[in-house]
Symmetry: C2
Subunit: 200 residues, 2 copies
Amino acid sequence: MSATRLLVLGAVRTRGEAHGYQVRQDLLLWAADQWANVKPGSIYHALKKLAADHLLEEVTTQESELGPDRVVYRITQQGEGEFFFLLNKALSDPETGPAMFNAALPFITTLDRGNLIFLLKSRIQHTKAGADSTRLLIDNTVAPENGQPGKPPHVREMFTYWLVTIQAEVRWLEDLVARLEAGEYVFADDSPAAFGNPPH
Amino acid sequence: MSATRLLVLGAVRTRGEAHGYQVRQDLLLWAADQWANVKPGSIYHALKKLAADHLLEEVTTQESELGPDRVVYRITQQGEGEFFFLLNKALSDPETGPAMFNAALPFITTLDRGNLIFLLKSRIQHTKAGADSTRLLIDNTVAPENGQPGKPPHVREMFTYWLVTIQAEVRWLEDLVARLEAGEYVFADDSPAAFGNPPH
DNA sequence: CGGAAGCTAGTCAAGTTTGACTAGCGCTCG
DNA sequence: CGAGCGCTAGTCAAACTTGACTAGCTTCCG
């Protein structure tokens, strides 16, 4: 349910083996601190939690000669399962929110192209459905007859704001799908060396 | 810095006096649970924290005949200051994020019309500036020459996604400003009974 | 009438996030 | 050469969030 979880799990998976600081640097590189909350503390916490849940395993505690000790992690079988589960959900279900979607983007090329397109189309459908029900809410937002604070006018503004951003998202998604269908990017079924797939 | 803080502070202020459950109901009515995180626990925590910071004061602990005891709060002088500070910031500074902006919307009519328009125009400026620098980032996102994981292609997608949503936001903001300039809504300087202003 | 459901009002422990802090090492520059 | 800066790697307490739980009262419905 957390964007950090997916990001950290995926970052370790991509490297094959990684310690906390490497994950931290990778996430920084993909600007994850901007839109998700990946402060240092969260990353180390996530690593420990994932290890406790047997989704990651501790490989070694290296005595690095340069700076303090490092704990190296690797993804487990269960972790693989969880990773793809989270990835699918984050991509297809708009209710998981934009943070989750952004967290999923780094790993899209680990999927097969057709698969990803399917997931994105599913997201588009659900998003459009959400937009429709928001439109209904806008139409039904009437001023209350009683004097109580009631449902005030600004609620309508919130809904239109919400609607405008979803519409923009849908257009962007449809454009992305079109580009993917036209062959953009290298996916897992195009080449095993697609970005994001673990080495060796 | 937190949307809950602004929402709870503003909700109490709007009522004049309120206990936790009333705040909870108001926020629910404003659909605040949707986009901000206003689970019951957070509200009661926020109330206690705001009271500890002397932004709210405890009025009475009423023995209500209907259900358990209630603690009634009222905003203090300092709270008034903090409220308008947070409100201004949430409206004018896009870096505080959409959650903060949504949390501010319920209270816009407590401002003077010209003041709000000024704040929103400021937001538009900053948002546009952000879009420009994002555009630069997109242009500079080149594939890395070295073999390292590097800055991968999806980062570009994230930026375009980001760009599309902020563009939608700007258009919406400009539309809102136009409507405000045309006289929509009743503001604090139109009538003291504008929505969101405390009673008596 | 009785009891199931629902509302009012709030508490609490467990989990998560924050961001300031430690501490060693290398590099640079006057 | 040594003082200061910045990087590597991570810890930690304090703050915040979550959502399940309590407990009394009212209302509905057969």
